[in-house]
Symmetry: C2
Subunit: 136 residues, 2 copies
Amino acid sequence: MQSEEEILKIKKVKNTAVRTVVLRHLLSQEKAQSLKDIENALAYTDRSSIFRTLKTFEENKVIHSIEDGSGMTKYAVCAKGCNCDPKDLHYHFYCTNCNKTFCLFDLPVPNIKLPENFKLQQANMVVKGLCDNCNK
Amino acid sequence: MQSEEEILKIKKVKNTAVRTVVLRHLLSQEKAQSLKDIENALAYTDRSSIFRTLKTFEENKVIHSIEDGSGMTKYAVCAKGCNCDPKDLHYHFYCTNCNKTFCLFDLPVPNIKLPENFKLQQANMVVKGLCDNCNK
DNA sequence: ATAATCGTTGCAATCGAGTTGCACTAAAAG
DNA sequence: CTTTTAGTGCAACTCGATTGCAACGATTAT
């Protein structure tokens, strides 16, 4: 596992106190985190600072965002080597019971063939259901 | 093409004035519509009435909703025979230029194999890029 | 036919995630 | 050390979504 500092260096994002703690938090969670999740976890860091940090991270492909339909955008650290290209697509799983969102790196995304003259840029693919913990 | 009245009857949703015009509007559009789209199109119908109508339609599987990442949930009439089961899944295409959302009924959805003990209920799959009209 | 009941509608108010302006502070450049 | 630039915290605001409530309409019971 890379350290926060290493990741920021690789992605050419200046290291600051807020950025380090936000990234550390994201790395420490196995589920994608919402702004509110992060805000709650980092009690003394301002919401707007976290918000702008997430925007910076996303622009620099440190993290990717997921619209899981919960009404809150969630964020997860990109896998090593990810460029957020269509080739880096992966499914996400949203548990309708516990509201948690997982990255499904192991579930292959098929080759998406769009209609004539459509251009693929990116995708947001969320599969919903019950996670193993809630499916009992 | 079925009439509004026929669809509502089949889906066991009572027919009212607002429901008829909302459904008629949805049927008349080839792109998925947001609450605001519908509100603008139906000048004399209240937003909350449309909102509740859409909720009713969704519960009764008259329409399905799409979170395309634009910040506004969009709605489209279900295809004939659709039960909003996983088997009825289809991709959606969101044009990042004109902000329109299309249902891609012709793009096959692969068999989704989830991790052990996860249960699939539904999905929201949005592919983003440029539509044929904007890709020039 | 009239009264009671229940779902639907319109209006206004509210909620909450996201976003921005601004002043202040810290870091980088000169 | 001084100047410039970037980052942070606070407060206010935006806007889509949602709800409380009263009025209305249709349906059912009396």
